[in-house]
Symmetry: D2
């Protein structure tokens, strides 16, 4: 959280010597001031005798906007040769451009209230162009906040049309990120595929335990002593996408499955809020089915 | 969380042998069904050779309402001789009678949104007869929920009158419990004295560290690696009342004092919600400046 | 941890009204002084209209030994009619009789050092009649502590004989509890069956995630953000027995599977020590494949 | 934890643009391979318009030893001009040179057993040239491990001489780091001053709460719901030195001060082990009375 406007460069490339020097050198050459930077070499890759055996290198760099003599378009133009030389996958974003986040909810209130509180206080400095739900429950609450609300019912007979409508709305409002804030419908594979790394879900278990429906009841049956929640990117494989954040809370034998549901809500909203923040600040880089999270 | 209506008996008395037998015997005699019960002997008291050296004994018992042949008034009448024999301080409450909780807030939203989400979903099954604030910030939000909102400004010149007004409102709505949900004014001693064990505060540090103003800035200066929050009963001694619940979250050198404020909000609302729940379920018994919390 | 000698009664029986009154009444009748007591009704059983629909009731009661006019043999004799009336499964133990705990280890040191440190300082007030290992690695260390060490090699060809020998030793030293302190062999089903609720294992994952071999490597592959450990009773179903205690620790993308192994050791030894203590203090009651842990 | 031999460069300097480019450029120029690197700008310094207002910049860089064409002496020679240009405080260490760590203990076993287990398994890859104690309690245990043991009694009459002797031993064995592993004597100011940033203590509270003697008893009196431990550098101000690591554990009303002492031991040894590891891996940079810990 810097008071300055800044650009965030995130990149990955094959590991080799001299990467930081090359990138930081480019920035320094233009007198760019680095506010924060993080680097990670994929630890699995050893020994590293030749280029071909090398692992992958990840980085995230925040640069003060007013320290550079140009803006994003020219940065992108000038940086391209460096990126090509290093065979990089990369992007750069501007802290002054708010991300557009569309929330999908069902009937549970905890994640919705939590995210709107953070949005209302500008702790989450985002645009929420609309909220979509398969129930009409929260229309009044959402509209009171001045946010458009779309009721898109989903049932066995209209699934394809319903999700086509959700996609149409998301595209129409130019959404950057879709957040399933305890949205109790499974997204169809084509929707997952359309927005890779842009749809976040909060699953109400400590994955990979208790995949699928009613995880707290599964946890109750197994007699675990901690329950958890997992924020992950949605992929076509249910509850199998790259994990962004997880946490747990202690329970004991005196807690019923309903008690676990109640305790779990506190973990779910905290984990979703943290995972979403990491995502929005471009702190999450995906590597296969895993994430690098530069906290 | 039982589906049944139940009575909750909480009591403390000088420790001696036979207390549980006497109390559980009374309940059994009337065919009362105990759903949950907890007992605690003040561990400090040793050796226990004579009555006079004995410590204090605490208990909390939930009895199914429909298992008893009478209701609270008659329970109180019949139990009185037992309680007198044991020199008990005691009370009994009815799960069907909702507690009346008045919230005091200032300009920070997180505890307010969190508590209203729990109230809206009946996770917190209480009445909120009104919300009082020294700012008008949340009037619309509160009134949208159908809860009366009172703006009682407080400044150096009107303190006595302002707190007299708060007290008048609290009494008028027959409040059971007052919750300072990040209310940024210090209650005058006479108000604290008027409602002992009925006013809860959330302090934004892990007490006894960082008493008073700007605890996150104090924590930042000291370079601690965890920050916390404390829910406690308010007494005339600022931040010194009996502690009900605490928790912490990890931070590191990269976190500014402002980051700590943000992280802290998540701990504050979770700790306040847990502490308040224990209080409302009559799980908290005060013993000098400490609490017994029968979770 | 009381300074007094005490008896610990643990029991379970069908739930009904009057159980506490009956048991506490029996104790009070003999002027027994209850130091600590805990009760739990199996929450799953609802509604409770008739005896047949009732759930199960669990209790643990500590009674000062010097407050009773008789000792264990006579307690057992006199309590039997009460227990029969309530259809109880029960036992009573004496804090003055040290439990006899046999440790099984392989080549990893952390749980062994940890448990011997607790034994050496009397924090764990037990007898360790011997330590058994499939390797000779720790002979010197164990023998330096004055504890007999048995090297029982296990390989594909001698499994039956090896485990018969382990069982012979355990019986010969009159072991109460067997602790697999990172013992890297799978016990045969007949050994598990011979000592139900008496063999504890520490599994190096947060079960039910990552059952079986190399759980940290499984965790690394899945990209979880927390790793854990589980102390459970051993049954013939590998890693499926009743869970006594669990805990987790945070890791991140920079941690290799080897780092996880290292972090995990700290959780393993802490979880095993806590689980073992609960077991030794008769705080763990088994209910199907779950545990009640009266902490 | 890399399988490679590596050099660790740690440095701090006034913040300005181009620091990473300059340092990483130097390393790249010599074809050095950076395994891991971390950077931190002192966030308190804003706005940063001129050099004089700038904050301080911290870094830690691991370089594969076999990627450089020279060793430490020549690295130091060649890097000096860069460091001078940036006005750096810096050092570089070699992972192949084991740190020499002297432990000071009293009568409590837990940190000693814990550290020796880690040393025995090479999890802590250090030399322990000797262990010093004011009691003779652990002589046998230490010597069994092949480590020299020095009994240096300390009492009111011989303090100066005793600590002079400790200092003599530490210098004689060429100690790098002194660890007070629950050593129950207060070091004299001149000893603290002689080894700044090289003496680690584990304090048995969550500082700044409960400074001084018997912190668990202070915690018990105050009725806190979590207890903790703090690993910090020792300075002449008792329990006031820069904090390296902290953690807490939950307790409740049923825990006596003695129970807290027992629970606390588990936190103390874990926190000391983590803090010591960070220190030994040159992950801790001191900034006034605070630390940067590059985990």
């Amino acid at each position: 959280m810097h008071p300055h406007r800044f650009f965030t460069l995130t990149a990955s490339c094959p590991d080799r010597s001299g990467i930081i020097a090359r990138v930081a050198g480019f920035i320094a050459e233009h007198r760019g001031w680095i506010l924060e930077s993080s680097y990670h070499a994929d630890a699995a890759v050893e020994p590293v005798a030749t280029r071909d055996e090398a692992g992958r290198y990840y980085m995230r760099i925040e640069i003060r906007a007013d320290s550079l003599p140009f803006h994003l378009a020219e940065f992108r133009e000038r940086f391209r040769p460096v990126a090509e030389e290093l065979e990089m996958t990369w992007k750069i974003t501007d802290s002054a451009v708010k991300k557009r986040v569309v929330l999908l909810v069902s009937k549970q209130e905890h994640c919705l209230y939590d995210l709107l509180a953070r949005w209302q206080s500008k702790e989450l400095d985002i645009e929420i162009p609309c909220i979509i739900s398969n129930h009409d429950t929260f229309r009044g609450f959402v509209e009171w906040h001045g946010i458009p609300f779309h009721h898109v019912p989903v049932d066995a007979s209209n699934k394809a049309a319903a999700f086509a409508e959700i996609r149409r709305i998301f595209d129409e409002v130019r959404g950057d990120t879709m957040v399933l804030a305890r949205y109790m419908q499974i997204l169809p594979p084509e929707l997952c595929a359309a927005y890779p790394g842009r749809v976040l879900n909060i699953h109400h278990s400590f994955l990979p335990s208790f995949v699928g429906a009613r995880p707290y009841h599964q946890a109750y049956q197994r007699g675990v002593k901690l329950i958890g929640a997992t924020c992950h990117y949605v992929t076509a494989d249910l509850d199998q996408g790259p994990i962004i954040e997880q946490d747990v809370i202690r329970i004991d034998h005196s807690d019923s499955a309903d008690d676990m549901v109640r305790y779990g809500k506190d973990i779910e909203k905290a984990v979703l809020a943290r995972g979403l923040r990491y995502h929005l600040e471009d702190r999450v880089l995906v590597h296969g089915n895993k994430t690098i999270v530069f906290r």
